[in-house]
């Protein structure tokens, strides 16, 4: 990654100098003082900065070299203006595109951007530019291209539009889509199924990844599917129909065992921790947690109609997923309280348990979940309320993730600046300039990170289908399950 841009940096020297500004400014006077050792380090720094700048310049395009904020105000404005004009149809893009970013680094070259500049321009600043963002996929190109099954196209739209949200839902959707794809698949005459099928599937996987990153759970599922296809090669002679049947059935079993039954077992396990009269705190919405609560409530009512527990649904903008959770829980007869995240510390003293869902559990035991989860668990630890994360083992990841910056996703910022029931309507893009009233569009960066990372120290226990485990046991489970999977 580094080597490539350096070669480019020699090409546009003017661009190369841009971001040097913030960093080398301090050392320069020092250099005058005559510190040799440090200047060597600086040289390196400079080089790296130049590399970053080269990447940034590339992105900004030829016309915007002058987009340096301190150099000349006019230039920045003009660059912003012209960019705005050119992006006018994409609406929200224009609003803060002209932000005084000293560098506009581009995403790694391998990341294929489906279309649209809107989000990338808004959310591209130094720290988060590497993150994939949700962008509406170009379905017409995908269809014309003809490599995608229509079901995959539909799935991509559902995922990127936010209709299909949540790791379980997305993994399930993806696997059921591939099940249908494999059903419809016909192996070419000369090809061998187990060799040909991965090639057939790979553009679809790539396209879905462009619609929304599949996450650890989805990645595990795909890896499993590929190994399963690969295994067909070892199993020798079988007709194409048999092989397809095998795969279709295997996917069904995977979904059943790893998600559905896992959820059932998790619900059975976790509901033991909810006692009569408890107050349970949940954050946002998780299909597993919802199920735990519903089943716990039902069981409690069966054994003793008087018994019951309360649920506090904690929610936060902009997704407000907790509302749906609230609706499901309260319609089942569970007494609920709905609060937004800032109120959490006042409610926690009465809480007995915090139940969290998650998108992934990394091998150091860190929970990767909806942004805000970390705050919930931190406050819960402060108030000595046990935190239980409900995570299926298929979501266990082998990576170690230290913060929510290196790996994350940029979400839609459409609703970030508008009140929730003032959604845009029709096909007109919800342009930010109107929602902010034209205030400060050049220095405004609405940022929506979808996930955050909860360190293992804040998690009391992880509830999985193999029982309650401490977060530190993830590698053990991974080691075990990898042989199984």
């Amino acid at each position: 990654m580094v080597a490539e841009p350096i070669t480019e940096s020699s090409k546009p020297p003017t661009q190369g100098k841009q971001p040097k500004q913030p960093k080398p400014q301090n050392p320069k006077p020092e250099k005058g003082g005559g510190e040799k050792v440090k200047s060597a380090k600086d040289l390196k720094k400079e080089k790296r900065a130049a590399a970053v700048a080269a990447r940034g310049g590339e992105n900004a395009g030829a016309g915007h070299e002058g987009g340096r904020p301190t150099l000349s105000v006019t230039n920045t404005g003009a660059a912003g203006e012209s960019r705005q004009a050119s992006f006018a149809p994409s609406g929200s893009a224009s609003a803060s595109a002209g932000g005084p970013g000293p560098s506009k680094p581009q995403r790694p070259a391998h990341f294929s951007e489906p279309s649209g500049l809107s989000l990338s321009n808004i959310q591209q600043n130094l720290f988060f530019s590497h993150l994939p963002h949700q962008d509406f996929p170009d379905t017409s190109a995908a269809l014309i291209n003809g490599k995608l099954h229509p079901l995959i196209v539909r799935l991509g739209v559902l995922m990127s539009s936010g209709q299909l949200r949540g790791a379980n839902a997305r993994t399930m959707g993806m696997m059921s889509a591939f099940r249908e794809v494999i059903r419809d698949y016909e192996c070419p005459d000369q090809a061998v199924l187990w060799k040909d099928l991965p090639i057939y599937l790979s553009p679809m996987i790539a396209w879905l990844e462009g619609c929304r990153p599949k996450g650890v759970g989805g990645g595990n599922a795909i890896r499993w599917l590929k190994s399963e296809i690969n295994r067909l090669g070892e199993q020798g002679d079988r007709s194409e129909a048999e092989q397809k049947d095998y795969l279709v059935e295997a996917i069904g079993l995977y979904l059943r065992d790893r998600i559905e039954f896992a959820d059932k077992v998790i619900a059975d396990n976790a509901k033991e921790k909810i006692r009569n009269g408890d107050t349970v705190v949940t954050y946002a919405r998780s299909s597993v947690v919802e199920r735990v609560l519903l089943e716990a409530h039902r069981d409690m009512k069966v054994s003793d109609p008087e018994a019951g527990f309360k649920v506090v649904v904690v929610d936060s903008r902009p997704l407000l997923e907790g509302r749906q959770s609230l609706e499901a829980l309260s319609s089942a007869g569970i007494p609920c309280t709905y609060i937004l995240l800032p109120l959490l510390s006042s409610i926690l003293p009465q809480a007995d348990l915090v139940l969290l869902g998650g998108s992934a559990l990394h091998s150091d035991g860190a929970l990767y979940s909806r942004s805000g989860t970390a705050i919930v668990s931190m406050l819960a630890k402060e108030h000595r309320v046990p935190v239980v994360a409900c995570v299926e083992t298929y979501k266990f990841g082998e990576k170690v993730v230290l913060d929510g910056v290196a790996t994350n996703e940029l979400g839609s910022v459409d609703n970030l600046l508008s009140i929730p029931n003032n959604l845009s309507f029709g096909i007109k893009p919800n342009d930010l300039s109107s929602t902010t009233g034209g205030v400060g569009k050049h220095n405004l960066t609405p940022l929506h990170l979808v996930y955050d990372v909860t360190p293992p120290s804040l998690i009391t226990a992880v509830c999985t289908e193999i029982g309650f485990i401490p977060p530190s046991s993830v590698p053990t489970v991974l080691g075990k399950s990898s042989s199984v999977v």
Partner: protein, 577 residues
């Protein structure tokens, strides 16, 4: 593994055939053009689909629009009388050579499956009635040709550039419980009067379409059901919008149509769509239709959607599955590495696993019965209006010093043309489309095009000169404004003046003729010294010498006598003023 795949890829990609099936197909209905009076009468009537706009039939814009969205299957349903001409046109313009992927199927309205009950009955109905069958019945008749979800389009649509079919389809794709996505538009001022006025109720938050009611025949009071208001407290009522007749429909709507008796079916727009919309919020209707529209286990994503954190538990059909705790939940699943024996077929196991998630406990019956209240499907709407002239320039644009750029912006905005959706289903609409086309010729951005146009014209001229070796086709003494379009093979006589005109192919403009703001189709003859203003002359028309014609529309083959003075007439062949 990876190496073998890589190796394979080098050979495999080339022989990989494209995925063949698609999730949507387009159904284009070609009508008779009832509202296009002088064009639809007389001999050699051109189908509405072939009305030329800038010498290109209007249906081209529809087909191009469809193909641009990546759809491949197009079914065009044509009245038998227009079949030949349209089939010829389409096979010529959309041949395998130019559009290798498109599969355009043209059918006569009579070709479809016979109505299942009472053929004679319907025949009688047809004869006794208007003689033209309702669109709904047509669609139903062709239901065996429509295998997927489909988008129903008129043949006379000119979509604005801001509205791509992809965006409409994506809207439909992204809301899984939508049965119908329909497009409404704000018509331009000039077309407004011609359009049927309808009252539309919609919910802007959820973009649900709730009511369509023609204003005509409505009493002074508007009655709205309480159920509607209570379920959609923020509904808005408007009369500004018109129906674009773009309906994205689920395939199962056809199943619903086939439960109706064919004589009860009439127009899609006037009858079926309003019905469907009512069913979306009237619980009784909705529930009755839900089993047909939402057949169980049809959607492969049902289980996934039930788990989605953005699925609304009270209004989504999928959430009924969500708790899904089955009595077998005490069964501990053994992580099985090898899927079960081959005796269990794939589909069987799928049903199994689905059932597992669908079993609802007796305790949850109460909840389930509440859930039954959920209709489970709805109709969505997409409203298209021209974007207001960009407001950015009015906002303080950050810092001063870029006034120059701003000025430039303003200069651009002065020529900003609101991009309306226009349908050529009335004379006003047809006029508007032609005006729009002429404007595209004359806009500043089109200046270059004009230059090339002129040079092209000259080239044509030269080539014609070369070919015939005799008279130049377009006389150098004629005056042709840059915002005019002249079709090939047209001859323009000396001192003729043509301004803001669209002139078809093989026309003959006589000496000293003066044409302003006219639309001439193919093979029109204008004799010497004629003056024509704001007039549409259909194919094979003939305008006698020294006639003066203003604000007229003439049907095919109309001949104006020499020296005729006509103003504001709509005439067809054989008629006299």
């Amino acid at each position: 593994m990876s190496t073998s795949v890589m190796f394979d890829q080098s050979q495999g990609v080339s022989k990989r055939r494209a995925v063949d099936n698609q999730d949507f197909m387009a159904v284009i209905l070609v009508g008779y053009g009832e509202n296009l009076y002088p064009f639809n009468q007389g001999t050699n009537v051109v189908s509405k689909a072939l009305l030329p706009i800038g010498n290109v039939p209007v249906i081209n814009s529809v087909i191009d629009w469809v193909l641009a969205a990546g759809l491949r299957d197009v079914l065009i349903i044509v009245p038998p009388s227009f079949y030949t001409s349209l089939a010829e046109h389409v096979t010529e313009h959309y041949s395998m050579a130019t559009h290798p992927k498109a599969r355009i199927d043209i059918k006569r309205t009579t070709e479809g499956e016979k109505d299942d009950e009472g053929d004679e009955d319907s025949e009688l109905g047809v004869k006794g009635g208007t003689g033209r069958e309702g669109t709904a019945r047509l669609v139903r008749r062709f239901k065996n040709w429509i295998r997927t979800d489909f988008v129903l389009l008129p043949c006379d649509l000119s979509p604005p550039s801001s509205l791509s079919l992809t965006s409409i389809l994506d809207k439909h794709r992204s809301s899984p419980d939508t049965v119908l996505t329909s497009v409404f538009y704000e018509p331009t001022e000039s077309v407004k009067d011609g359009e049927e006025k309808v009252l539309v109720a919609l919910d802007k938050d959820t973009s649900e379409l709730l009511l369509i009611q023609p204003l005509e025949g409505m009493e002074d009071d508007l009655e709205l059901r309480m159920a509607l208001i209570s379920s959609h407290p923020t509904l808005s009522l408007t009369t500004r919008l018109s129906d674009a007749h773009i309906y994205v429909l689920r395939r199962t709507v056809l199943d619903l149509l086939s439960t109706r008796r064919s004589k009860d079916l009439d127009s899609m727009r006037e009858q079926v769509i309003p019905w469907l919309i009512k069913g979306g919020w009237q619980k009784g209707l909705g529930r009755r239709w839900a089993p047909i529209l939402n057949p169980p286990r049809k959607d492969p994503f049902a289980a996934a959607l039930a788990r989605s954190t953005s699925t609304n538990p009270s209004s989504s059909p999928y959430s009924t599955l969500s708790p899904g705790s089955s009595p077998t939940s005490d069964h501990i699943p053994l992580p099985r590495s090898i899927p079960g024996s081959a005796s269990r077929s794939g589909s069987g196991s799928q049903v199994d696993s689905l059932q597992n998630s669908m079993i609802i406990d007796p305790e949850e019956d109460v909840k389930a019965s509440i859930k039954k209240d959920v209709v489970g499907w709805k109709c969505k709407v997409l409203v298209t209006a021209p974007q207001p002239p960009p407001v950015e320039s009015q906002q303080p644009s950050g810092k001063g010093g870029n006034k120059q750029g701003q000025g430039k912006d303003k200069g651009l905005q002065n020529v900003y043309e609101p991009d309306y959706l226009i349908r050529a289903n009335s004379l006003a609409g047809y006029w508007e489309l032609n005006r729009k086309f002429i404007k595209t010729l004359s806009t500043s951005s089109g200046a270059l095009n004009n230059l090339s146009n002129i040079s092209q014209n000259k080239q044509i001229q030269q080539s014609l000169e070369d070919a015939t070796g005799t008279l130049p086709a377009i006389s150098p003494q004629s005056q042709i404004s840059p915002d005019s379009l002249i079709g090939e093979g047209t001859r323009v006589g000396e001192r003729a003046s043509i301004k803001k005109c669209i002139i078809g192919r093989h026309c003959n403009i006589g000496k000293n003729a003066k044409l302003t703001g006219c639309v001439l189709w193919d093979f029109v003859t204008v004799e010497e010294n004629a003056r024509i203003e704001n007039t549409i002359i259909c194919s094979n028309g003939r305008i006698g010498e020294k006639s003066q014609i203003k604000d007229c529309e003439f049907g095919t083959g109309f001949e104006a006598k020499p020296g005729a003075i006509l103003k504001g007439e709509r005439l067809v062949a054989g008629q006299e003023a």
